[in-house]
Amino acid sequence: MAEFICFPALQSKTRAGLDAYLEDGGYQSLKTALDRLQPAEVAAEVKASGLRGRGGAGFPTGMKWGFLPKQTEKPVYLVCNADEGEPGTFKDRDLLRYAPHQLIEGMLLTCFAIGARIGYIYIRGEFLEEAAAVNRALDEARGAGLLGRDILGRGLDVDLHVHMGAGAYICGEETALLNSLEGRRGLPRTKPPFPAVVGLYGCPTIINNVETLAAVPPIVGHGADWYRALGTEKSPGTKLFSVSGHVERPGVYEVRLGTPFLQLLEEDCGGMKGGRRLKVLIPGGSSVPMLTAAEAATLKLDYESCLEHGTMLGSGAVIVLDETVSVPEVVRNLAHFYAHESCGQCTPCREGTHWMHTILERVLAGRGKSGDLDLLLDICQHVSFRTICALGDAATGPVKSGISKFRNEFEALVHA
């Protein structure tokens, strides 16, 4: 069963205020760190914990922080990625609503560790209620001497600000987010240079997902060994999974990494909706290759098992689809998403996502041509890894996996 070890507020879903957070031991990690630890020691603890970025790419957090220049005249910025937009993902929304102080404490610890005095929380524009919850928490923290100058009388100066997006999935990509935060269109930048070196306003910048930053207080509070022991050797700790689709009890569950998928499905989510049969599992958000029911049966929820199954853990968005779905219809739905969200600056992505969607529309309308399936796969070849950001490649995930694993469903449409 899901236990809510690192994110207890997601269990009760009511205790978002400062008093409740303090009662549950909130801001103790920050106090301990400011009293007893050097910034480098906080960073070392996070590195030792093996925490990996929870925004999708799974990059080791401690290692990312280590990419900051050792000496710099420029200010260092921390940016929290709360643009949550990967289809199937809704965990950050719960953290913003129910655990805003844990996020703030995580950001303060991170600012302390990396030497940042200003942090921005980039929240997707539709999240008005969530932004209001975070702003309330920021006001409370400021009133309690937990934000601003000389935090807790221990000499730390940090200010955190909410910045709202305005509707564009691509702004979840970290460099597009930086452009958006600077007041521009959200176009991804070419890397290198990486944001840790040249980021916001040209300054060294660390960008982390909401869940990543919210995991820092329990790690600093209980120690890296405690955190590691919650997961597996190579996928330490716990992770939030957003489960949607055809299950009895969809929702956000905290899971020890390495837990079998079927356990999450049966014990936490109450099994398949209406007792129908599993057909397709998308384990990590719409960008990752889909799995068949047989593949899903042996899947464990960790980074390695996902890789062994030819897919990815991504943002932990588990989309469960039963035997009533048509796979070509699923693939068309996602192809529309990517065609709509491509920022258009790379030709392979702009054209490729458009054509994949157009061809799938024609296949589903019964006007498909015999070469269409191979054409779709060929387009995927021309998009993958030839673009500035990962959206282009992501768009090929559902198309390639859908056609290769459920080809007969597509062929039935083309030949019909």
């Binding site: 564009a168 007041g183 949607s244």
Partner: protein, 183 residues
Amino acid sequence: MAFTFTTEERQEIERILARYPEPMSATIPLLHLAQGRLGWVSPEVVDEVARVLELPRIHVADVVSFYTMFQRKPVGRHRISVCRTLSCHVLGGHEILEYLRTRLQLGEARSGTDPRGLFTLEEVECLAACGTGPVLLINGVYHEGLTVPGLKLLLDKLEGLDAPLIAPGSGGTDAAPGGPANG
């Protein structure tokens, strides 16, 4: 019609500008502020934001065109944004969309405003509430786990109300009796 920020809004703008080392960062926040009052981003709003931030007009116009939440045309009294992405779709989101298209008499169009100017329908991508689909926003407020009969009741009530647009960025409460079905 000329658009100028009010004295109160000017004070809010000062607070916004204080958050950033570069005024350009206030572009999106100021557009939200203006759209919150006007309901859309008119060409005059673009002029005013450019003037206040001392930016080229084309910069602001470019930004407006990039982000889907900025309306470049006036909208109906109530703006309905329906999620069309996978998790909502398989839980009946497409039926919600079909119902709305019929009710708003949109004909062949997938989105648009009904003849009386009451409701504007738009399709949007995943709203990050997939566990409680189908999901839609009415004037920026989430309504989750919707059914067609539930939506019908909601819109019937809204039709009888002279409710103002909810300001994006205000975090305002729902104008609709019945309230959002969050959680």
